[in-house]
Each structure stands twice: as structure tokens, then as C-alpha cells.
């Protein structure tokens, strides 16, 4: 696979997290676009590529948005793949810029959160969920992931205390990231264990809070980023694989197992070189699955790994192995802004690697790994994606 040399990721934007909002998805996508243009110091007409991800555009599509926003892009993409949207958009946009089909692509995920909108999304998520999962208790994603979590706990002898490690360290990170919706609240292991039950082994702090929000960044050539004097991040390698391991009766691994060794090789970087990791944390068990599948430990050793690893952004935890994980608090603490949540790991990593994160900056961050997961069409998340990013030298 050809590398992504010469591609720059710039101008991470995260905005507008709200538990409920009267604004629609177009407001969030458009507001991110406005912020991207301002922070890059470019004209709207300079954006000649647009990649959009959203669950709540309704009858509109990415094309409709070009008229809403007065854009005339020569390259357009709509990647509605939930938690892997950001990585899918990034890979396509990077190739398009590399091939000269477009110069500057705005990659944006945005979703509103109207009254009872989550209920509507969950009730009509996919034809298989409509026919074969939602009628069974209408638990939405909590039901599907409680089955996956219980299976994982039984198969690998994982305990709630193990998942608490992920949620508690992420909340610490969120406590230092002002935009996180739950960042003002502390979370102790005790709080986590005593939370009210939601579904089987899942309790309140295993579940994300649906919210509104927007995330985005720009893809351009490294040369253009230098001309614009924008701090940038390079894309060392990226890959995706969907509906992998379809014969596994219950999901406990994803497509990463099939491509991560080659991805590390292409990037000439290994798990030991990663300064920060952003996994898709719709539920702690899914983060644990990604940690295993991406080679940080063996399958089934996730529970041991999280106890031996300090996942705080500032290395202030007790454990000796340091791996800052979901350094802005992830969805578990920021909230899950629909498709925008599939961009959260990327925007956060771009901030970290350009050393512009501010109050939750990881010290000396050079390499960041971002993974995406998503789309529970029926009983499991189908998508997997990963991107290895490196700080660009000015």
C-alpha cells in the first residue's frame, strides 16, 4: 500500500457539545466549517473538498449542504459510518489530495440532539435492528453491548473493576478538558461500581451520554500547511476492515487483528512508540478489545493491562506503564455526539501532536494512534479503522 507522504492534518475543531439542542445537524456541520476556515486563515472558496458524517441530516445529504453553506467543492464524500466515520473520511480525503483531485478537504462530523431524537435513532438504526433487535426490550445499543460485555467477562474472566480503570482514568482526563460535558464531575472507582444498573453488567458509567456536537479538521498538502504556517500532523499509516470475523458467534475482536502488524510496519512504529492512544469508547469493553487487537497486549489480557497501565494524560497515575488513553475523556466523559464521536479521537490527537491541547496536553507527544469502531447493524459493531499519526516537523 502506498504511503501517505506529503499529507497534513491541520486545524482540529471541537464545538458545541450539548445534552439537548434545538439546532439541527447542518448547524453543527456548518459551524465547524466556519471555525475551520477561521483557524486556517483561508477563504471559504479555498475549501474544494468536503467530507461529511452525520446521522441526523434527515432528508438532506452532503450535497444539500453545499448549497446551505455556499460551497462549490470538486470532491465530496459522505461517510455515515458512526464510530469509524472520521478514519474513513480521512483515508479517502488523504488519497484525493495526494492524487491532486482536490487541494483542501474539510472533514466534518456533526449531529444535533433534539428532544427524544436518540430514541428515534435507536428505533430506526438499521433494517436488522428494526426487525430483530430493537423489539427485544428496546434497550438500544446498551442491550447489544451488554451481551458483548457479559460474553467477554465470562470468556476472559474480566471484572467490573477492570472496566472501571478505563472509565475512571478517562474522567480524570475530562476533568482537565473544559469542553467535556461531564468534565466538571469527578468519578472514583467506588462511584463507578455503585452506579445504577442499565443492562446486565453495564451500569451508568459504562454508557455514553448522547449529545449534540461537531468535530472537524482539514486535510491539505504539507507544503500548503507550511505556506499557511499551520502546525500539522502527518499520517504515517491507516487501514480499515469491515465485518471481519463474521463467524465469531459473539464479537470479542475486530478487524484490527488482520491489519495492525502491517500497519505498524508501514509506519515503522510499534505499540511501544505510541505516546497516546484514542480508542472508540462507546463502552469500556470495546476500548479493551481495541487495546488487545492493536497489539498492546494479548487477547484476554486487557483486564491485566489496564491495571498495570496509567492511562491519564499527564502520567500522574500510580501504574508504571504509561499510555495516555482517550486524553480528552473520550465519549464516556465528553458525550457521544452521533457521528461526530467518530472524529473525536482524530481531532484530539491532532491537538495533542501539534501541542495545542492546552490544559490536557500529553507531555512530549510525538506519535498518536487512533482507532474507530462502529455501526451495530444487528449484534456487533461492523466497522474497524485505525490511523497512526505523527507530529509534523515545522
Amino acid at each position: 500500500m502506498r504511503n501517505y507522504e506529503g499529507i497534513a492534518l491541520v486545524c482540529p475543531v471541537s464545538l458545541g457539545y450539548a445534552k439537548q439542542s434545538s439546532h439541527g445537524a447542518a448547524w453543527y456541520v456548518g459551524s465547524v466549517l466556519r471555525e475551520l476556515i477561521h483557524s486556517a486563515g483561508i477563504a471559504k472558496s479555498d475549501v474544494d473538498g468536503l467530507a461529511v458524517s452525520s446521522f441526523s441530516l434527515g432528508v438532506d445529504s452532503a450535497i444539500a449542504l453545499t448549497q446551505h453553506f455556499g460551497l462549490s467543492p470538486r470532491w465530496i464524500e459522505q461517510a455515515n459510518m458512526g464510530g469509524v466515520s472520521g478514519i474513513v473520511a480521512l483515508r479517502k480525503a488523504a488519497r484525493a489530495v495526494q492524487c491532486g483531485e482536490t487541494q483542501i478537504v474539510a472533514c466534518i462530523g456533526g449531529d444535533g440532539a433534539g428532544h427524544r431524537s436518540f430514541e428515534a435513532t435507536a428505533a430506526h438504526f438499521s433494517s436488522w435492528s428494526i426487525d430483530a433487535s430493537f423489539p427485544y426490550g428496546a434497550g438500544g445499543p446498551n442491550a447489544a453491548f451488554s451481551l458483548i460485555t457479559r460474553h467477554y467477562m465470562e470468556k476472559y474472566d474480566a471484572k467490573r473493576e477492570d472496566f472501571a480503570r478505563i472509565a475512571v482514568d478517562q474522567r480524570y482526563n475530562a476533568n482537565h478538558y473544559p469542553k467535556a460535558l461531564l468534565g466538571h464531575k469527578r468519578l472514583s472507582t467506588q462511584d463507578y461500581l455503585q452506579a445504577r444498573p442499565i443492562a446486565g453488567p453495564l451500569h451508568l458509567f459504562d454508557c455514553v451520554m448522547p449529545c449534540a456536537g461537531g468535530e472537524g479538521f482539514l486535510i491539505m498538502s504539507e507544503a500548503r500547511a507550511r505556506t499557511l504556517k499551520l502546525p500539522f500532523v502527518r499520517l504515517l499509516a491507516a487501514d480499515e476492515l469491515h465485518n471481519a470475523h463474521a463467524k465469531d458467534a459473539v464479537q470479542d475482536r475486530g478487524g484490527w487483528t488482520e491489519y495492525m502488524p502491517a500497519l505498524y510496519q508501514r509506519a515503522s512504529v510499534g505499540p511501544e512508540d505510541i505516546d497516546l492512544l484514542q480508542t472508540y469508547d462507546d463502552y469500556p469493553v470495546i476500548s479493551m478489545m481495541q487495546i488487545e487487537d492493536m497489539g498492546f497486549c494479548e487477547k484476554g489480557d486487557g483486564p491485566k493491562f489496564v491495571h498495570e497501565t496509567d492511562m491519564r494524560f499527564d502520567h500522574s497515575g500510580a501504574a508504571t506503564r504509561k499510555l495516555p488513553h482517550n486524553t480528552c475523556g473520550g465519549q464516556l466523559s465528553c458525550g457521544q455526539a452521533g457521528s461526530a464521536a467518530g472524529y473525536l479521537g482524530l481531532t484530539e490527537t491532532i491537538r495533542q501532536l501539534t501541542h495545542t491541547a492546552g490544559s490536557n496536553q500529553v507531555p512530549r507527544a510525538r506519535h498518536g494512534l487512533v482507532s474507530g469502531y462502529g455501526m451495530v447493524n444487528y449484534d456487533r459493531g461492523l466497522c474497524s479503522g485505525a490511523a497512526l499519526l505523527a507530529r509534523g516537523e515545522a
Binding site: E119, A123, D131, L147, A199, V250
Partner: protein, 181 residues
């Protein structure tokens, strides 16, 4: 309040939580409606591919193995094994919210011996992963076919026996709110 006033109020305050009668999710795709129709006369009917012999669920337009358009509904054996079970304490749907006030709602995923993985209401107590179960379909209070899993030793051979299991779960009647609209 007479019926007309009641219906006007219900239209004005279109909130499931205010309704006198809450029912399970009724919405299905066209394929889901076919599943309900095919399951009316029998304990369990699943899509069977006449071309390659594959049995599949959830219902789909084409065979997921050979992509041929030769799917028919055939009576299927409901024997299987529980993959994972869960108890819901929270639901997005008013019917289940009301049922949950009486206790958690058990649901499980099952690997049927014929191949497919199904999600079903759990109609027997004390079942866990690895336990053998039988799965059958029954009409719920929204007139849709839903799957129910019971201990493999439970008799589900007659429509009466199956109806009894469903009645014991209160799946065939709406969840009532006494002073609702």
C-alpha cells in the same frame, strides 16, 4: 372525559408516557412483516435458501451466502444454545419502561443449531450462556411476531403451550396506565 376529548388530548399530548395502553415496538420493515406473516401458522419459520440450503436470520432480501433470490420461509427447528444473556434495567420504549417497574427484563442471544444467531425474549428463569434452549415465535401485543427462548425441557409443541408462556410474560397484553389517555 369522553372518548372524543380523550383522543383530542392524546393527539395534543403525543407522549407515550401519557398513554393508557403502551405496546411493544410495532414498527417493522417489509421483510419483518413477511417474517410475522410466515410465522403465524407455525412455531418457528426462518428464511431458507433453495439454491444453497443456507438458513438465515434476520430476514434479508437475498441469501447472504450465494446472493441468489430463492429464499422461502420454512418451518425451522428452534433448538439452540445461549451465547449471552442480559437483564435490561432501562429501556427507550414506554411498554418496556412500564414492565421494568416490576423487575428487569431478560433478553438473550442464541446460536441456533441451524446456524443463525437470534436475539430473543427469555421466557425461563436461571438460564445462562451455554445452556440449551428452544426458540419459538409468537404474536405480541403489537400483533408482530417476536422470538421467545425457553429451557430446552419446556414443552412448546402445542399452540396452547406457547400461548401460555407468552401470557405468563405479559407479552400479549399492553402495559396499562390506569389514569392514562
Amino acid at each position: 372525559m369522553n372518548l372524543k376529548e380523550k383522543m383530542q388530548r392524546r393527539l395534543k399530548l403525543s407522549r407515550p408516557s401519557l398513554r393508557a395502553r403502551a405496546r411493544p415496538p410495532k414498527h417493522r420493515t417489509a421483510l419483518g412483516a413477511q417474517f410475522t406473516a410466515a410465522n403465524l401458522p407455525t412455531a418457528l419459520a426462518l428464511q431458507h435458501c433453495k439454491h444453497c440450503g443456507h438458513t438465515q436470520y434476520p430476514p434479508a432480501e437475498l441469501c447472504s451466502i450465494c446472493l441468489e433470490d430463492q429464499l422461502i420461509y420454512q418451518p425451522a427447528d428452534g433448538s439452540g444454545v445461549i451465547l449471552a444473556r442480559t437483564e435490561l434495567h432501562h429501556s427507550l420504549w414506554e411498554y418496556f419502561k412500564r414492565r421494568l417497574r416490576q423487575g428487569s427484563w431478560p433478553v438473550c442471544s442464541i446460536a441456533l443449531d441451524s446456524g443463525p444467531v437470534v436475539i430473543a425474549h427469555l421466557g425461563s428463569d436461571h438460564l445462562n450462556a451455554g445452556d440449551p434452549v428452544r426458540v419459538f415465535s409468537h404474536t405480541d401485543a403489537s400483533q408482530q411476531a417476536v422470538l421467545i427462548a425457553v429451557n430446552a425441557t419446556v414443552d412448546i409443541s402445542s399452540p396452547e403451550a406457547r400461548r401460555g408462556i407468552v401470557s405468563a410474560m405479559n407479552l400479549d397484553i399492553p402495559a396499562i396506565k390506569e389514569d392514562g389517555l
